[in-house]
């Protein structure tokens, strides 16, 4: 089927324009230099083609001045590219404050997405236009990579850690979502759509989408079911630290190191409790590796986050 001959994908995020501009710049420089080299080769090949069989041209040893020129000029040009590209990358790396959060789990061969309010989607993601969205991503099995060409963003989802990325859509529409890292049999089937909706459409979608409990509620239920509450008690210090208010705070570890209790730390502490024990507590918590899915983990963390928020609201400032 003839679908046209496009050269650029849709540019539908705040970073897409910057990436395309740099791409054009490097292409322009490249075309200039290749044209120069090709022209020189064509010209020399024709101008100096062998005129007689016993022709012997004069030797030219080289030229230090020329060598320096054609080393230094390309070096300077590549440094411009390097500076531009690196600053673009650094600027695009950190999500803006107050980005809305979506939680992504990759597994062979589908993307599962959870909204904090409880909506859950598979291979489809609905987001509003004009708002920054931060993805916290984990995988149940192998490495996947979350890729939205129209947004010019991509990030590997690596087992054992949380990966994160962000984007801010600028145009309502329907955009490809691909898995970019080869992940086995149905790799090319691990695709979906990102639906960017106008604010009213998004509200309509939110209220229309089937939703059970919020992520935090689901997490609380897991917290109960797995028996976490027996040690991490809300009222008094139990065998484990009190978790109210812990998210986002700085905790001191047994070895004196201080770490921020973020998603990555909490995840590790659930799966490998002895890795970074809080000072004053003996390591007696069992590992929950294998007992809780990545999605469940995200829910428990959402719950711990939510009680931190409540705590902060209750604390008189």
């Amino acid at each position: 089927m003839w679908t046209g001959f496009p050269l650029f994908p849709e540019a539908a995020s705040t970073v897409a324009g910057g990436v395309d501009a740099l791409y054009w710049f490097v292409i322009a420089i490249s075309v200039f230099f290749s044209a120069g080299i090709f022209a020189a080769i064509f010209y020399f090949a024709l101008r100096y083609s062998r005129k007689s069989l016993d022709e012997v041209p004069k030797p030219i040893h080289g030229s230090l001045a020329l060598e320096i020129t054609w080393s230094v000029i390309p070096f300077l040009i590549t440094m411009v590219m390097f500076g531009w590209g690196t600053s673009l990358f650094f600027r695009n790396f950190h999500p803006p404050e107050g980005a809305m959060e979506i939680f992504v789990t990759g597994k062979q061969w589908m993307w599962k997405l959870q909204h904090p309010e409880g909506q859950r989607e598979i291979n489809e993601l609905h987001v509003p236009v004009g708002r920054a969205v931060k993805l916290t991503m984990a995988t149940e099995d192998v490495i996947h990579s979350f890729y939205i060409p129209a947004f010019r963003v991509k990030k590997d989802v690596v087992p054992g850690i949380y990966s994160s990325m962000w984007f801010e859509p600028t145009k309502p529409g329907k955009y490809h979502l691909f898995c970019a890292e080869y992940c086995g049999n149905q790799h090319s089937g691990m695709i979906g759509w990102v639906h960017v909706l106008s604010e009213p459409d998004y509200e309509a979608w939110l209220s229309g989408a089937p939703r059970g409990e919020t992520m935090a509620q689901a997490g609380e239920r897991l917290f109960q079911r797995l028996g976490c509450f027996t040690c991490h008690r809300a009222d008094s210090p139990g065998r484990g630290p009190v978790l109210e208010g812990v998210f986002g705070s700085t905790v001191q570890l047994e070895n004196g190191v201080k770490v921020v209790a973020d998603e990555v730390y909490l995840r590790e502490s659930i799966l490998k409790p002895s890795a970074k024990t809080v000072a004053g507590y003996r390591t007696q918590m069992p590992t929950f590796q294998g007992q809780i899915s990545e999605e469940g983990l995200m829910q428990v963390i959402a719950y711990i986050k939510s009680i931190a928020r409540q705590e902060r609201m209750n604390t008189p400032q």
Binding site: M1, T3, G4, F5, P6, L7, F8, G18, L22, Y23, V26, S30, F33, S34, I37, F38, A40, I41, F44, A45, Y48, S49, R50, L53, P57, K58, P59, I60, G62, E67, W70, S71, P74, F75, T78, M81, W84, G85, T86, F89, F90, F93, Q108, D141, V142, I143, S145, V153, K154, D156, V158, G160, I161, A180, E181, Y182, G184, N185, H187, S188
Partner: protein, 549 residues
């Protein structure tokens, strides 16, 4: 060295066939137990050609599948196995050994005036090791295949894949030793066996390129061997190196893998650059421009090539500051490549240029390598690679380097030294025609992949969205032309071995000690050890007299 300029190939062939390395003795044993570097080179030539066509067969299957967006020709599983075998065969069993093991083996002793490599038995052993690794990998293929991709990323390869990963891993592991031993042999040979008067800066640039390549082979290959061993230990015995469920780190694998596999690209391209340096000076009949800069840029590429592996991991989650350093070093490694291209171009300036087939391959190499190199600046760029990583843009980029660069150089070299290797001339018309077919076919195959890559088509996709079809149809059409371009030389080169015109010792009027021997050379290359009194590529007589005092 022979001071007189060799006349064009018009001398009548000698009436009586003299003894040379090919007819010195006959029979299966005389080949299987040969210690002659030239015969071992031919053993390699036959075996890498076999592996090239196996790898090529899989490429054909991939391109056929991708003609339509739906995955309809074969199953996803077979598609995944096909691109894995294509990559493994082409990278480990064709490209890495190609120029060093065939042309390097054949030519290094001849070029430096030696009777053989430093360790002839080790040389033969390298070939046996290579064949053992190759056969084991072929067995993995026949037994059911492997679906990890040639990159074998963990934990897919260690925990999740149900294919014959172990057998293939052992095959690649064994093959690595062949590469190490060949590199070692070349290094010792180049250090210790140069003819009297052949100082380092009188060496042909082909030898310099192989010296740099050998250093990478010796230093880099052990790392891939260790990595594969760790994969095998995790997969077979549950040692936790890479799978986080066993306490490992999947990113560690990527560091180790690319620490070798990025320099491996330079193992492929440096020898090809060495070939181009020889050809461009011969067919311009003029001393190469900036000899020391070309020689030293090979060494610079070998050194810096070891420091850029992290550019394969910009979106893997490695520190953004690590990304910054790797990006910087990747830009840096582009400079010595640019220096080479400029010097080759300048060599043609005021030369006497002929358009024999090897020179056509030089034109093809410079054109395609330039495009491959410049698109390297795009993917080395942090800001752009986020979008382009793991898309067809990457596929196009590395094929421009590894096929457009390395294979063009290899074929150019094969044509250039064919008269020396076989004692026969190939049909020039067919050879020029096929060089053209290759160039057109290659560009039609891979240029559309840049475009579809920027549009966002991920690599290793068995099925793809319809809007990408037009580019894939172009690519597949190009691949069929490219395939033809490889078949034609197979046919006429094989033909010429028996029926080609007899070649004089120096059909191109080239400089270099290998052209002072008869075509084909005798078993021990030189009647007596030559004494070198002049720089490389002393085409002009005035210059020779000038420099011989």
């Amino acid at each position: 060295m022979n001071a007189a300029l060799a006349p064009p190939p018009s001398a009548p062939p000698p009436a009586e066939t003299p003894t040379h390395y090919l007819n010195a003795n006959y029979g299966f044993r005389s080949w299987m137990f040969t210690l002659d570097h030239k015969r071992i080179a031919l053993l390699y030539l036959a075996s890498i050609t076999l592996f090239f066509f196996i790898g090529g067969f899989y490429a054909v299957m991939l391109r056929l599948e991708l003609v339509t967006p739906a995955g309809d020709l074969m199953s996803a599983e077979n598609y995944n196995k096909s691109f894995t075998m294509h990559g493994v065969m082409m990278v480990f069993f064709f490209l890495i050994p190609s120029i060093p093991a065939v042309l390097g083996n054949f030519l290094i002793p001849l070029m430096i005036g030696a009777r053989d490599l430093a360790f002839p038995r080790l040389n033969l052993l390298s070939w046996y090791i290579y064949m053992a690794g190759g056969m084991l990998t072929l067995y993995a293929m026949v037994a059911g295949g492997v679906d990890t991709g040639w990159t074998m990323y963990t934990p897919y390869s260690t925990t999740y894949s149900n294919s014959h990963v172990m057998v293939m891993a052992v095959g690649i592991f064994i093959n690595g030793f062949s590469s190490i031993l060949t590199g070692l042999n070349f290094i010792v040979t180049i250090h210790k066996m140069r003819a009297p008067g052949l100082t380092w800066f009188r060496l042909p640039l082909f030898v310099w390129a192989h010296y740099a390549t050998s250093v990478i082979q010796v230093l880099g290959t052990p790392v891939i061997a260790i990595t594969i061993l760790l994969v095998a230990l995790e997969r077979g015995f549950g040692f936790g190196f890479f799978d986080p469920k066993l306490g490992g780190d999947p990113i560690l694998f990527q560091h180790l893998f690319w620490f070798y596999s990025h320099p491996a690209v330079y193992i492929m391209i440096l020898p090809s650059m060495g070939v181009v340096s020889e050809l461009v000076t011969c067919f311009s009949r003029k001393k190469v421009f900036g000899y020391k800069f070309i020689a030293m840029s090979s060494v610079a590429i070998a050194v810096f090539g070891f420091l850029v592996w992290g550019h394969h991991m910009f979106v893997s989650g490695q520190s953004i500051y690590a990304g910054m350093i790797f990006s910087f070093l990747s830009f840096l490694v582009g400079i010595p490549s640019a220096i080479k291209v400029f010097n080759w171009t300048a060599t043609m300036y005021k030369g006497s240029i002929s358009y024999h087939t090897p020179m056509l391959y030089v034109f093809g190499f410079i054109g395609l390598f330039t495009i491959g190199g410049l698109t390297g600046l795009i993917v080395a760029n942090l800001g752009l690679d986020v979008h382009l990583h793991d898309t067809y843009f990457i596929v196009a980029h590395f094929h421009y380097i590894m096929v457009g660069g390395a294979v063009m150089g290899y074929l150019g070299g094969i044509h250039f030294w064919w008269p020396k290797i076989t004692g026969r001339l190939y049909p020039e018309g067919w050879a020029r025609f096929s060089a053209l077919v290759l160039f057109v076919g290659f560009n039609l195959t891979f240029f559309p992949q840049f475009l579809v890559g920027y549009l966002g088509m991920p690599r290793r996709y068995h099925a793809y969205p319809e809007e990408f079809q037009v580019f894939n149809v172009m690519s597949s059409a190009g691949a069929s032309i490219l395939g033809l371009g490889y078949l034609i030389p197979m046919i006429y080169l094989t033909w010429s071995w028996r029926y080609g015109k007899l070649a004089p010792p120096n059909p191109w009027g080239a400089k270099g000690l290998e052209w002072t021997t008869p075509s084909p050379p005798t078993t021990f290359n030189f009647e007596e050890t030559p004494v070198v009194t002049e720089e490389a590529y002393a085409y002009a007589q005035e210059q020779e007299t000038e420099e011989s005092h």
